[in-house]
Amino acid sequence: MLEIKNLHVAIDGKEILKGIDLSLPDGQVHAIMGPNGSGKSTLSYVLAGRDGYTVTQGSVTLKGKDILSLSPDQRAAQGVFLAMQYPVEIPGVTTMSFLKTALNALRKARGQNPLDALQILKLLREKAKALDLSQELLSRAVNVGFSGGEKKRNEVLQMAVLEPSLCLLDETDSGLDIDALRVVANGVNALRAPSRSMLVITHYQRLLDYIKPDVVHVLAYGKIRQSGGPELAKELEKTGYAAFAREDA
């Protein structure tokens, strides 16, 4: 699904990612853990194509195709979805119409017919119910006045509706209480599929109790320092990230 090779990324001339290698096969869930400032969010933004991040070296392919030359919307059409740490508010645009516009833009790019308002409504209601999101939320402006938990569930709702092949979850657990965390994790788990891969970025092991990863990577100071099975997350919970001191300091 996703192949990252020797990826170097700089922001304003300062190197943040210093040679990332990562291979995420179809249907697998990999977790990326690491201390604050290690470059976790940078990695997710670079993969999604946000402006302001300069790739100085390396390559990223999705299903064998280079994506670094694509715009964010073209990457979305190829199946990239980023559930953001801080979902953005869009005043005056209802969640319903936002998702309708997005879904039909993606369907168009993928050569499918657009869905009409009624079909979308039915789809959204179904998906919202599964995530324990109230119907009323769909007719409110995107993320405006949403609680932290509602915002995160709204991200998962969008993921469920847009059916991406690569899901990037950036600190999806931050700001969630244990009940909300369970709901969000259940929503994510329901989306696990052989044709879909996920990269779960988190600071804490807690989320991984609910979303079981196939592989755990430790990202610190711009490089992947260690990779292993789910037990690596448990270990980190005890030892912390102190072992991964800067090599280049």
Binding site: A76, L82, V88, G92, V93, T101, A102, A105, L106
Partner: protein
């Protein structure tokens, strides 16, 4: 879009105005210049009664003693009023308007077809085009067609070119013309009163709710002419009507003047909803050419519990100078102003409203959304005036500005004058930018940069757009997207 968004945006920016074509029809045009003879020429062309010629002459004499207003936050070189022609009519059409569409030059019919304005009733009734809109089509200085007149007559509704109303309903026109905007009201209103050519007249009789939307579509076509239309709408006791105005002009390098006057009169329990989608040619990227849109629009809520609402979506014109206002004279009358003004490239807009509270318990609402991009300047100018007589008056104003890029400007000049201690006036204002986060969020979900911008802008304007009749709201949102094309990327 398979192209990269940046180059697609550039491509779109190079062809921003879709309505800039010229129709090639022989026309009957007055010689350049403005004098009392010009007024006589117009008056003769239109077979006008002598009272109207005298009215024009009085306005012209007033105008010659008046000075062009310079208080608005707009800049332009002095206008040579002698360098324009004040009358231009396509030759094929008789002076007082053709009787049927067969009398209209096919070139003109094609023009309206191209603009998407339905003139053929049969097609409309057959469901080929959008139903329930009656159209008065004004081409340069004359009305070329008015649809559904017969259907409307069944309800006692008069909907016709004002030049026809002058001949057929002189008493009514004489009673109301200039009663809301007097000839000496301001420089441009005086000019319009002297040289106005066509426009629409609407009368809704007591107790009648107009069964369809009425609309007038103004098209400036000829070179070196201005358009000076005059619209008068009267809603009698308990009557109600929704009216829409649209406009466009060819793309020319010279500036053209559009100085219109619109007067609305609402009697007891009457309501008038007036919507405008203004899309005059805005000039090119460097500010060359474009329409000078200097317009006076005012509604009088004369009757008790009467209502007038102005909804405007202003996307065109090089310069817009326009303040649709309400005089709330009748007790418990209600005025509203909903506005979206978009400026891009070198456009300048100075627009807003005046709400004059005279009657008891009068209420007014102002919602203004200004969007500035490019190097444009966008000003909101508003006056809420509450007279001593207006006990219990209430006003709520909200002015929001949205900036796109770093080179544009947004300004607000709200003035509140209250002489009535029981009045309640609220004013809210905000300024925001379209953030990179918002655009990225939308694009991550699959929207192109242009669609992302249109969605965010549409959200910002939602409170205003939802006031428009449904089919026009969709058009207006598209137009907003087109107007801002090339401003991101």
């Amino acid at each position: 879009m398979t192209d990269t968004p940046r180059s697609a945006a550039l491509e779109l920016a190079s062809q921003p105005y879709k309505y800039g074509f010229v129709t090639d029809v022989p026309s009957d045009t007055a010689p350049l210049g403005l004098s009392e003879d010009t007024l006589r020429f117009i008056s003769t062309k239109k077979n006008e009664p002598s009272w109207l010629l005298h009215w024009r002459l009085e306005a012209f004499r007033a105008w010659t003693s008046m000075k062009e207003p310079r208080w608005a936050k707009v800049h332009y070189p002095p206008i040579d009023y002698q360098a324009a022609s004040y009358f231009s009519a396509p030759k094929a059409g008789p002076k007082t308007g053709p009787k049927t569409l067969d009398d209209v030059d096919p070139e003109i019919l094609r023009t309206y077809e191209k603009l998407g304005i339905p003139l053929r009733e049969q097609e409309i009734l057959a469901g080929v085009t959008a139903p329930s809109v009656a159209v008065d089509a004004v081409f340069d200085s004359v009305s070329v067609a008015t649809t559904f007149k017969k259907e409307l007559e069944k309800h006692g509704i008069i909907f016709c070119p004002i030049s026809e109303a002058v001949l057929k309903y002189p008493e009514m026109v004489q009673k109301y013309l200039g009663s809301v905007v007097p000839v000496r009201d301001n420089f441009f209103a005086a000019l319009n009163s002297a040289v106005f050519t066509d426009g629409s007249f609407v009368y809704i009789p007591p107790g009648v709710t107009c069964p369809m939307e009425l609309s007038t579509y103004f098209r400036i076509n000829a070179k070196n002419t201005g358009q000076f239309e005059r619209t008068l709408i009267v809603a009698d006791h308990g009557a109600s009507v929704s009216y829409l105005e649209g406009c466009s002009a060819p793309q020319r390098d010279e500036n053209q003047l559009h100085a219109a006057v619109v007067e609305l009169v609402a009697l007891d329990d009457a309501s008038i909803k007036y919507s405008t989608v203004q899309n005059w040619y805005p000039g090119d990227k460097n500010g060359k050419g474009g329409i000078y849109n200097f317009v006076t629009k005012r509604g009088a809520c004369r009757g008790k519990r009467s209502k007038i609402s102005w909804t405007q979506v202003e996307t065109g014109s090089a310069i817009t100078w326009k303040y649709p206002s309400c005089i709330l004279q009748g007790d418990e009358s209600v005025g509203a102003f909903y506005s979206v003004a978009v400026t891009n490239n070198a456009q300048q807009a100075d627009t807003g409203t005046k709400m004059i509270h005279i009657g008891k318990n009068t209420r007014s609402t102002i919602i203004s959304k200004g969007i500035s991009a490019g190097r444009s300047q966008n000003s909101y100018r508003g006056l809420v005036k509450i007279l001593r007589s207006a006990s219990g008056a209430r006003n709520k104003s909200q002015c929001d500005s949205l900036l796109i890029g770093d080179a544009c400007g947004a300004h607000t000049f709200p003035v509140i004058e209250s002489r009535q201690p029981s009045a309640r006036v609220e004013h809210e204002a905000s300024t925001s930018k379209v953030s990179e986060e918002q655009l990225f969020y939308c694009r991550q979900r699959g929207l192109s940069s242009e669609d992302a911008m249109a969605l965010i802008i549409g959200g910002f304007c939602r409170e205003v757009l939802q006031e428009l009749p449904m089919e026009f709201a969709v058009e207006a949102q598209k137009l907003l997207g087109i107007s801002l094309e090339g401003s991101v990327g």
